[in-house]
């Protein structure tokens, strides 16, 4: 249960904190413990806890321990303003490392700027969020969409696409890019439909889809409920076209059971990545959280790596001075479960992307991988 797990973690942090003498480097994690993100948030907190524990066990950063401050941003702007205020001005954290909704992130940026605090954003998003204080180590459309579309074009001989999304920034942002990319690669988009974020009745859209004669679907809904309702209703309506889902994560796919089978996802992390680093990471997570373990996913792993990225930057900068750390963040590279990651492309990072297919048992089978996909020009310097 979220809040209990979270309180426990606080207690734990306190313990490790006191283990080392010097005053700790504080890491703020504003995250959606309640609201839309509350399903995935616990896994994010867990991976942050693991990273901090590992680092402290090895003597911390420049001899100082790391301490976590988690705050609920309610997955929205108002909550985020409170959370960022609390972390930046009350807890006086040295850095913010978190996965959040775009609304929450945007609400936080002005506060981060006023507090001159570095902010490592570890959630995939619709792209083009730029602030001198903001670094992103997760994917943007330019990195996620091409694998699916290319695969559908080539393997499924798809050319007529139907796009369905939730009516919010991520949904519209992703599909706008997808549409452009499909048309660039010679495909056609027969329909692009949105339902309000809290909408749960996709009937009329599905009817349109069935009428359209499309030969592939790509969806980008809000995580959780809308994603599930759409998938279930697609299945109930007997839609069995190639189905690329830009918003489903492994955990949700697993819990959805049979309905999720054959969904194609494109991610920078799947548990099935066959690398020593990933295996070690999964083992450590399993050891630390046992039964309470939330399946690590494309949102929680970047958090884990974000903490290490900050460690590297501080060590390079020889201290926690914000400006120096910000400069260093673009230069340090971190080896993690997702491979080697360096946020050197306009404060975004090239990533290895994996095209996966959900199996009947809900597990994700990696079909193809594309190494070092470039994020493209997210924040071109203003001329």
């Amino acid at each position: 249960m979220t809040s209990r797990a979270f309180i426990a973690s606080l207690a734990f942090m306190a313990a490790t904190g006191s283990a080392l003498a010097a005053d700790p480097i504080r890491i703020g994690v504003p995250v959606g413990l309640s609201g839309a993100n509350s399903v995935v948030a616990p896994s994010v907190v867990q991976s942050a806890e693991l990273a901090v524990e590992e680092i402290n066990a090895k003597g911390g950063v420049l001899g100082r321990p790391l301490a976590l401050d988690v705050a609920d941003d309610g997955s929205g702007a108002a909550g985020a303003q409170k959370a960022f205020d609390a972390l930046v001005f009350q807890k006086k954290v040295n850095v913010l490392i978190s996965m959040e909704t775009s609304a929450a992130r945007n609400a936080g940026l002005p506060i981060v700027a006023r507090g001159k605090t570095p902010f490592i954003y570890t959630s995939f998003y619709e792209g083009k969020s730029c602030s001198p204080y903001l670094y992103v180590n997760a994917w943007v459309p330019e990195q996620q969409v091409p694998p699916i579309v290319d695969y559908f074009n080539k393997e499924k001989k798809a050319s007529k696409y139907f796009l369905i999304g939730s009516d919010y920034a991520f949904g519209r942002g992703m599909l706008a890019f997808t549409k452009a990319y499909i048309e660039k690669t010679g495909g056609k988009v027969l329909g692009e439909e949105y339902l309000p974020m809290d909408g749960s009745d996709w009937t009329s859209i599905i009817s349109k889809l069935k009428a359209s004669g499309a030969d592939a679907i790509i969806t980008s809904t809000a995580g959780g409920a809308p994603n599930v309702t759409l998938t279930k209703q697609l299945r109930a309506a007997g839609v069995s076209l190639p189905y690329g889902n830009l918003a489903v994560d492994e955990g949700t796919a697993k819990s959805m059971g049979a309905d999720a089978a054959d969904i194609y996802i494109s991610a920078s992390y799947v548990t099935g990545i066959d690398s020593a680093a990933n295996k070690a990471f999964l083992a450590a997570m399993g050891k630390k959280f046992g039964a309470d373990l939330k399946t690590p996913n494309d949102l929680s792993v970047p958090e884990y790596e974000g903490v290490y990225a900050y460690k590297a930057a501080v060590e390079k900068a020889g201290g926690t001075d914000p400006q120096k750390v910000l400069a260093a963040l673009s230069e340090v590279a971190v080896d993690g479960p997702r491979g080697t990651i360096k946020m050197d492309k306009q404060r975004h990072a090239p990533l290895t992307m994996y095209l996966g297919q959900v199996q009947a048992d809900g597990s994700v089978k990696v079909i193809q991988s594309f190494s070092n996909v470039d994020p493209g020009a997210q924040c071109p310097p203003k001329s």
Binding site: V39, P196, S200, A237, S255
Partner: protein, 278 residues
């Protein structure tokens, strides 16, 4: 074309099922139960638990109804009973109750989106097109709900007493009807219906602590427009639900989502008694 018709009818069916509980409560006590959404959610979780216990659907539905009815009875005796003279405050109090129930559910079941497998899956070949079998089943469900409760209201002694209280409470009391009990039972039945509808929509939607909320406004509007009878509710559901589908199909689903609310407000402005025959 036929698809649109089916979409319209099945949508209307769902709306009808979900609003009927709210309507019955409003019809008898002129109270808007904003905890309705929460009761819908309760029903869905009841179904979830039932499914986990591997109960058959013929047992899951009664279970959901019973759970909802129990919550309703408790609510009436502890909260609503004191607010009959303050209908606007009743809206607030039940809204508060709604959040409480939502949070309690969260604390017990967690925030995670959960799932209930549909008893009927896949599509049915219907009038020459493949259509979601479960949605078609919903039409039947709506008709059953309508028939059962119309029957209950017109066929039974309780129904008679209830109608008597609706029409003229003082006279009914004079004839020995215990109106307090009628209100209690009605509220329980209304809440039970809400829960039942919650259980019925789970196969189409996900189960999460706020799943009921998106339905609340539409249900509320439909009840206002229908002005208090199951028949007019059916009419409003068909008209406005149909309109929603049409707008969703030919304009866009976002506007479609607003159709019911806006149309209802306008209809009531022009014709305060809504679809009810004056």
């Amino acid at each position: 074309m036929l698809t649109i018709a089916l979409d319209a009818i099945t949508t209307a069916a769902l709306l009808f099922i979900i609003s009927s509980g709210l309507l019955i409560v409003f019809g008898v006590m002129k109270i808007i139960n904003f905890a309705h959404a929460a009761f819908v959610t309760v029903g869905a979780y009841a179904a979830l638990v039932g499914a986990r216990l591997a109960l058959p659907w013929v047992l899951i539905l009664p279970l959901a109804f019973a759970t909802g009815a129990a919550c309703g009875a408790l609510t009436e005796t502890t909260i609503v009973r004191r607010l009959y003279r303050r209908p606007l405050d009743a809206i607030l109090a039940t809204w508060g109750l709604g959040t409480v129930i939502g949070q309690v559910i969260t604390l017990i079941f967690g925030r995670e989106v959960q799932f209930v497998q549909a008893p009927i899956t896949g599509t049915a070949y219907f009038l020459g097109i493949d259509y979601s079998a479960y949605r078609i089943a919903m039409i039947a469900a709506a008709i059953i709900v309508a028939v059962v409760f119309t029957g209950l209201l017109n066929g039974t002694r309780l129904g008679l007493s209830t109608r008597a209280v609706i029409m003229n409470e003082m006279l009914a009391q004079g004839l020995g009807v215990d109106s307090a009990r009628v209100r209690l039972v009605t509220f329980a039945i209304g809440s039970g219906l809400a829960a039942l509808s919650g259980a019925l929509i789970t196969p189409l939607s996900s189960v999460d602590p706020n799943m009921g909320l998106p339905w609340l406004i539409s249900a509320f509007m439909l009840v206002m427009v229908s002005g208090g009878s199951l028949l007019t509710l059916a009419v409003s559901s068909l008209v406005l639900g149909g309109l929603q589908v049409v707008v969703s199909t030919f304009v866009n689903p976002i506007l479609g989502g607003l159709t019911i609310a806006i149309c209802a407000a306008v209809v009531l402005r022009i014709r305060p008694e809504g679809f009810a025959r004056a």
